[in-house]
């Protein structure tokens, strides 16, 4: 097993590089992704090595980035669209929901919408407005789309390649606050399928489920909880649509308790969906209702106070305490 240490940003870069090498129909398109390498440098050096025809600097219009990727898909290309920030995806929302999601169906399978929309999402970088949002539920709600999120460099490296190879359109959510964190990447073998949830740490008392940035927050909370004698099983959902419920069900049947954690507000959220499914599937194993830790139902706050909006270790622990203390 050949492993190497790199940041998530570098892992994505290497994953994209490998995809470009493997299949000449793979293209990248986005704003400032060429010479600059993208505002987060995810595509650093790729235009130099693969040329302007394959790593395409786009005029600044998100609907067109996605809309032309649709036409390229009809022609047999696989375009990885970079949305510069989560809050800038909405101009492309119409193309994503009305066309990307529906064209395979509308064409009775004649069109394969093999395209990936990369979305740096979630907050935690002290940015100005529209740069810290979590729009994943909008897309998870739409039939025809798939939504995934990576939380480690190894997943970033593999999931981006798996997403590009996949024949369904995929919204690929990258937790931008974790771009610069390092981890081991196994460059020989993918750790999991693209749509698998994975247990990040085993535990016995309570299951806590997150994705993207919150996985690390949950792992920290699990460290602290253990010193207080509470054993948390940590699950990284990874695939947000569809959800991989089986590992979650197995875990909750064992622990009887669970909490979900994400930065998005909880109204009609991924957490809400997990709570509904697990309540239905694990009803007789549950010893307490599931609780959602989330952002609040407000516009994303000015980032001087964003850490009071985003789920913290303390808020996760507070939810764990409430579930553990629940008396039926």
């Amino acid at each position: 097993m050949a492993t190497t240490t790199m940041t998530m940003a570098k892992a994505l870069n290497e994953g994209l590089r490998r995809a470009l090498e493997k299949d000449k129909k793979v293209l990248l398109m986005g704003e400032d992704i060429g010479k600059l390498g993208g505002v987060f440098r995810i595509t650093d050096g790729l235009q130099k090595d693969f040329g302007e025809d394959r790593v395409i600097d786009a005029p600044l219009a998100e609907s067109a980035i996605v809309g032309t990727a649709v036409g390229l898909a009809i022609r047999g290309y696989r375009t990885v669209c970079e949305m510069q920030f989560d809050g800038f995806v909405y101009p492309a929302f119409d193309q994503i929901v009305s066309q990307v999601a529906k064209l395979r169906k509308r064409s009775d399978g004649a069109y394969t919408m093999g395209l990936v929309i990369r979305l740096p999402f979630q907050g935690g970088i002290g940015a100005i407005e529209h740069h810290s949002e979590s729009p994943e539920a909008y897309f998870a709600h739409t039939g025809g789309l798939r939504v995934v999120s990576c939380s480690t460099p190894n997943d970033a490296y593999w999931m981006i390649q798996q997403a590009i190879e996949h024949d369904d359109p995929i919204i690929f959510c990258e937790p931008k606050s974790r771009y610069w964190e390092k981890g081991e990447v196994d460059i020989d073998q993918a750790p999991n399928g693209l749509f698998d949830a994975v247990v990040r740490r085993e535990g016995t008392d309570i299951t806590v489920i997150g994705y993207g940035s919150t996985v690390k927050t949950i792992l920290r909370a699990a460290d602290t909880a253990l010193t207080e004698g509470v054993s948390i099983e940590v699950i990284d959902a990874r695939s947000l649509s569809p959800l991989d419920l089986e590992p979650m069900v197995r875990s909750v049947e064992k622990t009887g308790r669970f909490v979900t954690v994400h930065e998005a507000p909880h109204m009609a959220s991924i957490g809400s969906e997990i709570v509904a499914e697990l309540t239905q599937r694990c009803f007789y194993s549950l010893r307490a209702p599931g609780i959602r830790v989330s952002g609040y139902h407000v516009p994303y706050p000015p980032t001087r106070i964003e850490e009071d909006y985003r789920p913290t270790v303390d808020r996760v622990l507070d939810a764990v305490d409430r579930v553990m203390g629940f008396e039926s």
Binding site: S63, A64, G71, I74, R75, Q95, S107
Partner: protein, 355 residues
């Protein structure tokens, strides 16, 4: 139609008009072919309106008045070109060889598409205004990368000319010099919205601001539409970049069968355009210049009647799809919620058990 900007090769009376930039290259037989196309598509369109009125279609979007614009452009396309239509491009679909009953599957509400777009190189109908212009530009960018001598063409109306996607498509096409033709049928009305509300300048002139040529053609003159489209497509195929064609025409009928144009436009306007009918002027030309007899026109009419009858039979035979087919092709690969939906439908007895 006194308009110096307008490319016209055939007057409303069916007389040849000389133009400094374009001349008709078509033989008598070819012109008769265009006449036949227009006469048949008009007949099929009228049959479709009747089918809707009789409760056999959920909706119909008539093209009456726009036959020359569509047949002229459709016949100018090469088999290898690819078109991206709205829901009103029945004439283009006809030229691409799509069976008429397939065009009506959408309106019979048994499909959201109706044909194999890759087979006919004619995309499925796009209902959200302007979306398809970007698909066409992306497809054209693919043509460039393949080094192929092909063109993409997208159809839209004066209404869609206000959409951001259409204008983004103009930007993209210009920036990448994409092999594409933007074919705008300015039929003067977007349901009740007059084209004067969409643009304060003639639509074709917008192209200049984006950095490529725009041409206004008499959209009721099939000879002119054919030549203008042919040149724009040829120019795109050899790397000449995009062209915007504004086919100046008129929607003689309602927006759709759900619309009532008497609420927003005056009869006098419709009367003016009746005299510019696209089919009659070609008929006049053929009779005078090529000595085509009335029997030949009658034969086309009989052929069109027969096709209309066949279309009616085909539509009536289109039955309600098995509900479980809604799960087909929603995704390319296995999906748990698709499996769950299918299972539930079978368990509840909604579907006999899939296929």
């Amino acid at each position: 139609m006194i308009d110096e900007e307008l490319v016209q090769l055939l007057s409303p009376e069916g007389e040849r008009v000389s133009n400094p930039d374009y001349q008709s290259t078509l033989s008598g037989d070819e012109i008769f072919g265009l006449y036949r196309d227009m006469a048949i598509i008009r007949r099929l369109c009228n049959e479709s309106t009747s089918l809707q009125r009789q409760g056999q279609l959920a909706l119909w979007a008539p093209i009456q008045g726009q036959e020359a614009a569509q047949i002229g452009a459709g016949r100018a396309m090469a088999p290898t070109d690819f078109s991206f239509p709205t829901y009103r491009e029945h004439g283009i679909a006809w030229c691409r060889g799509i069976p008429p009953e397939n065009m009506l599957r959408l309106f019979r509400a048994v499909s959201n598409g109706g044909w194999d777009p890759q087979k006919y190189r004619h995309s499925v109908p796009t209902i959200v205004l302007g979306n398809q212009a970007l698909h066409a530009v992306g497809y054209a960018m693919g043509i460039q990368r393949d080094g192929a001598e092909e063109a993409a063409i997208t159809f839209f109306g004066d209404g869609a000319s206000s959409q951001g996607d259409t204008l983004e498509a103009f930007v993209w096409a210009a920036s990448f010099n994409a092999p594409i033709v933007f074919f705008c049928q300015n039929n003067q009305w977007g349901i009740s919205t007059p084209s004067s509300l969409q643009s304060k300048v003639p639509l074709y002139r917008r192209a200049e601001g984006f950095g490529f040529p725009g041409v206004r053609v008499d959209g009721n003159d099939v000879l002119a539409v054919y030549e203008v489209s042919k040149r724009a497509l040829e120019n795109a195929r050899v790397g000449g970049g995009p062209t915007l064609i504004e086919a100046y025409t008129y929607r003689m009928g309602a927006h759709t069968t759900s619309d009532d144009p008497t609420r927003y436009r005056i009869d006098a306007e419709v009367e003016v355009w009746k005299h510019r009918d696209p089919v009659e002027r070609v008929k006049a030309l053929l009779a005078r210049e090529y000595d085509i007899k009335s029997t030949a026109f009658d034969e086309v009419a009989a052929e069109a009647d027969e096709m209309a009858l066949q279309l009616r039979e085909d539509v009536l035979a289109m039955s309600r799809p098995d509900p479980i087919t809604m799960f087909d092709n929603a995704y390319a690969t296995e999906h748990p919620l698709i499996d769950e939906g299918r299972r539930e439908m079978i368990e509840l007895g909604i579907s006999p058990g899939g296929h």
